[in-house]
Symmetry: C2
Subunit: 174 residues, 2 copies
Amino acid sequence: MIPKKTFPAARLKNVQHINNQTIFAKVAHSHSHEHDLIDLRAKLRGKDRRITKPREEILELLGKEDHPVTAKFIHEKLSGTCDLVTVYRSLKLLESMSLVKRFNFGDNTTRFELISSTDHGHHHHLICKACRTVVEIDECFDPSMESKIAKKHGFHNVTHELEFFGICSSCQAT
Amino acid sequence: MIPKKTFPAARLKNVQHINNQTIFAKVAHSHSHEHDLIDLRAKLRGKDRRITKPREEILELLGKEDHPVTAKFIHEKLSGTCDLVTVYRSLKLLESMSLVKRFNFGDNTTRFELISSTDHGHHHHLICKACRTVVEIDECFDPSMESKIAKKHGFHNVTHELEFFGICSSCQAT
DNA sequence: TTACTTATTGAAATAAACTTGCAATTAAGT
DNA sequence: ACTTAATTGCAAGTTTATTTCAATAAGTAA
């Protein structure tokens, strides 16, 4: 909410700056890129589900993105090929098929990211509170913490969402 | 979103079950309870800001709650004493004064919690994906991880949001 | 290919969360 | 008590996401 006001332009255009981290991510993605479409076909087969142009296009677009993006962003990028409603519906489907993961960076909009085969979608983000630049983070804490918490409170299938927030180097200057 | 459909009643009533953890939290809160109002007065003084009934009431209500609650929930609890808009505005003010913290559990609604003097608002939650029960978590990972990430990417003032999700013991049965 | 079945889409309406503008109110200094 | 301006309430407006339903198109079988 705070950055929404302070940097409307950045939010509107959904700018996501490039740095070493993201370039790396981009390379990693383009490798598994066409594999995702095969995955889509495989998962849809024999399930009263259909392989449609919007679904393929959204998956392809996500494959090219370095960071989680909003439904609105996808719709704009696809400019006219399908309705925003279809984007929402497709993302929900792709999520249910574990091809896409949903993120929330605290600005009241959901972002979606392709689940890469390497980390199974489990990684975290470092977000600049000023300009909303996103950096992908590989590090994670010791998984024993999770199982300890699960055991302590009698929960099963415990997972976690972890995001880091701060001020990036270029925003520190200004 | 998924639990929204599966358990509409739980979400509607904003049910938050009681267990050992939450009872503990309640006790801890009621101690610092009146201290928060003093805090409010101190922070508002000499700043062209006013101590108003809605602000006091919201702070008092949050002091009695064990878990983050929505603006809507606060408005309903306060039943008619002030408008929902005022709740939103007050929460924003209280947040800016570091008296309240904003949380996002991935269901498209913001929840607010009083920042306790003991942990300075830094703690995490374990949320049941089925019934939305919330448990307060004291554990956190080694802070060196945070500084490492900050340094690596040239970020300053790095903080984090960490939430755990799973299925609670009573939902496992059903 | 053609026909058939039904999942999927688009468009409009709806819902929910949150914000904004403005006149009326009220807290706080004098 | 008077004055000033911060705050509130109400109505209207945004934004994000979902639902309804007729039209479309994907997959299957002849």
